[in-house]
């Protein structure tokens, strides 16, 4: 791949926009996962009693089990959201940028 092609893409303001939007999105989602997961780990370490509390009177569903299950589901949903946006919106923008670079290359 010629360096001028890369230079074309780099100088396209849409490229900066794509990178900024995708990076912001990925960093936000990563932060959500890390904060929730390590928050939960801290809770297990510092407040085991809270983790063992029953969610309802007379039920065996504890805060820990519910939060665990919730995280399995939530983190998977976040990957789904990321894949949908990256494979749709971001990829369309990406294609547009690459095509523009091809045209100016010729």
């Amino acid at each position: 791949m010629s360096s001028s092609m890369y230079a074309h893409i780099r100088s396209n303001p849409r490229f900066a926009e794509l990178v900024a939007r995708r990076t912001r999105f990925a960093v936000t989602l990563s932060a959500i996962v890390l904060v929730i997961f390590y928050g939960f780990v801290m809770m297990v370490a510092f407040a085991p009693d809270l983790v063992a509390t029953r969610l309802f009177e007379g039920s065996n569903l504890t805060v820990g089990i519910a939060l665990g299950l919730l995280q399995f589901v939530l983190f998977w949903v976040l990957t789904l959201i990321y894949v949908r946006r990256a494979n749709g919106e971001f990829d369309d923008l990406n294609k547009e940028i690459v095509n523009a670079a091809w045209r100016s290359e010729q």
Binding site: F15, V41, F72, A86, D91
Partner: protein, 559 residues
């Protein structure tokens, strides 16, 4: 509980789950005695072998170029690759070790499984698409993209081979012990069967066959696990309340079965354990290689979506299996030595899942699950051998020794010889280590993956100022510090070398060696004022565009 005791326990737990078969290879295995021939299991395993050999025969006709061999020509779909990644991730230890952990520890095991799962979203958000856009066959392609090919590739190939070899030996020893137990075959016979089949799959069928072996095995694992869990759960009317109420009545932990215990009690260790697992996974060569088998970044993202969904589902299945086993296996004298309930479980703790299968589905289901466990070892071993062979043939032979002048045909031949070589080494080391506690090998594999591979990989993708000297410093520093810390830890210093007390108190080195590797890579890069370093920093611009857009990325071969 002292920190020492805690760390030992954590390390044992880590080895149990992280490590395909470490648990089987570790203390739990010592009880392994040869069982009577399990004909159902052997029959079903035979069917699996015939099926996969058929696929290998078909794949052989499609494996002509190096791209076919290393990456199945890039023609695997996101869904297929998702199954294959999940297959590589869910080893026999996941099925056996984690079920046993749930049976013993209750909800602690659930929290533990969550830490295993949580690496996947992070790999997707930060790594998957860049890996696919920058790499071709091995992850060394990425680290050497704008750095000195010869030096950086050698470093990456060496650390890949270290990871692959230690992992491979751990698998082989575990395989031998497990098969002795489940199939009633001799340890050595088991090693030869695993070694020979692995060589056949990889040398003839390359990545196409390896991927399909992995996919079939993943499906078998899902079907087998789900069947056992549903049959078990149905005995309690699919009522979580009923199951847990009765389990708490008879379990030695009582009501604490549902309360977090000591497993993750120390926040520092808990956090570093999570970090180690997360980044160890992100540095395993056979997992990283899977991102090059798909057409483009789009399919790479989809494969993580499918893989993480399957892994999350399966962990919940295992949780149910473990809880059901407390009542179904834990109260049945048939599964305890001497018929003494609460005593020693026949075959050791790792047999809980198998006993549960027999209790709910008879010999047929036991046979099926045993065949699944064997298939799992075979599939993981094939994936490892392929990753090792590509490090030798693509990175060391073709790029470093021949400097890119080798023909595809020669490179392909070298990779096949490398596979056979790895197979022979794996069988020989498997024999040599039969009687040894090899749990440390898995700590080493994860430690080296997290400390030598991951920091250099992530810095080369994200940090413009990384230079060749910095990458080498980080990579070798991570590699040697990880190995040194394991040698000084209890698992080698005391258990293998026979000293009285370990010099390094933990068994998992990543938490200390990983920051050291980052620090070394960053400091050396910043201090590097050479002209070469300047050129490398400037080349980041083009690499960055390619990583973001995929322009110039290796495309799928036409089939």
């Amino acid at each position: 509980m002292t920190i020492r005791a805690l760390s030992t326990r954590l390390a044992a737990a880590l080895a149990l789950a992280a490590a395909p078969l470490a648990a089987l290879a570790g203390p739990a295995v010592e009880a392994t005695t040869k069982q009577p021939l399990n004909l159902h299991a052997i029959g079903m395993f035979f069917v699996f072998v015939l099926l996969t050999l058929g696929i290998t025969y078909w794949a052989a006709s499609r494996t002509k170029s190096t791209a076919d061999f290393y990456t199945a020509g890039g023609g695997i779909t996101g869904f297929q690759n998702g199954l294959a990644i999940a297959g590589d991730y869910m080893s026999a230890a996941t099925l056996l070790g984690l079920t046993a952990m749930m049976y013993m520890q209750g909800v602690d095991a659930y929290i533990y499984m969550l830490s295993f799962f949580v690496g996947w979203p992070i790999i997707l958000f930060l790594m998957a698409e860049r890996l696919r856009n920058l790499g071709k066959f091995t992850f060394a392609d990425i680290t050497s993209y704008r750095l000195n090919q010869g030096k950086v590739r050698t470093m990456a190939a060496v650390s890949s081979l270290v990871v692959v070899c230690f992992y491979l030996v751990a698998q082989m020893v575990g395989a031998g012990q497990l098969i002795k137990l489940l199939f009633g075959l001799d340890y050595t016979v088991a090693l030869f069967v695993v070694g020979a089949l692995m060589m056949v799959y990889v040398t003839f069928g390359g990545m196409v066959a390896t991927t399909w072996v992995q996919i079939i095995k993943a499906c078998m694992l899902l079907i087998g696990g789900t069947t056992v869990a549903v049959l078990g759960f149905s005995q309690f009317g699919f009522s979580f309340e009923e199951l847990t109420n009765r389990a708490m009545e008879i379990h030695r932990l009582g009501v604490n079965l549902l309360a977090p215990g000591s497993l993750l009690a120390d926040p520092v260790t808990a956090i570093s354990l999570g970090l180690g697992l997360m980044f160890g996974t992100a540095g395993l060569p056979h997992i990283l290689m899977r991102f090059f088998t798909v057409t483009d970044a789009k399919e790479a993202r989809k494969s993580v979506l499918f893989a993480s969904g399957i892994v999350a589902y399966f962990f919940n299945v295992i949780a149910i299996m473990g809880l059901c086993a407390i009542l179904i296996v834990g109260t049945n004298p048939q599964f305890f030595e001497g018929g003494e309930v609460g005593g020693k479980v026949i075959g050791g703790g790792n047999m809980i899942a198998m006993h549960l299968a027999q209790a709910v589905g008879g010999n047929l289901l036991l046979g099926f699950l045993s065949a699944v466990a064997f298939a799992t070892i075979l599939a993981v071993v094939a994936g490892l051998a392929l990753a090792g062979a590509s490090a030798i043939s693509h990175d060391i032979y073709s790029r470093v020794i021949m400097k890119g002048t080798a023909s595809e045909k020669t490179e392909l031949r070298v990779s096949k010889f490398a596979t056979i070589g790895l197979g022979v080494v794996a069988v020989l080391l498997g024999m040599a280590f039969e009687k040894m506690n090899i749990a440390f090998m898995v700590a080493l594999a994860f430690g080296v993956a997290a400390s030598a591979n991951f920091p250099v990989l992530i810095l080369s993708m994200y940090w413009k100022d990384l230079t060749t000297r910095g990458a080498l410093a980080g990579g070798y520093f991570g590699l040697f510090s990880a190995v040194a810390l394991v040698v000084l830890s209890k698992s080698v210093w005391v258990d293998v070398l026979g000293n009285a007390a370990p010099i390094f108190p933990y068994t998992q080195p990543a938490l200390f060696s990983m920051p050291l590797a980052f620090l070394a890579a960053i400091l050396v890069s910043l201090l590097d004022k050479s002209a070469e370093a300047q050129r490398e920093r400037q080349a980041f611009g083009d690499q960055y565009v390619r990583a973001q857009t995929g322009v110039g990325a290796a495309s799928a071969a036409a089939h």
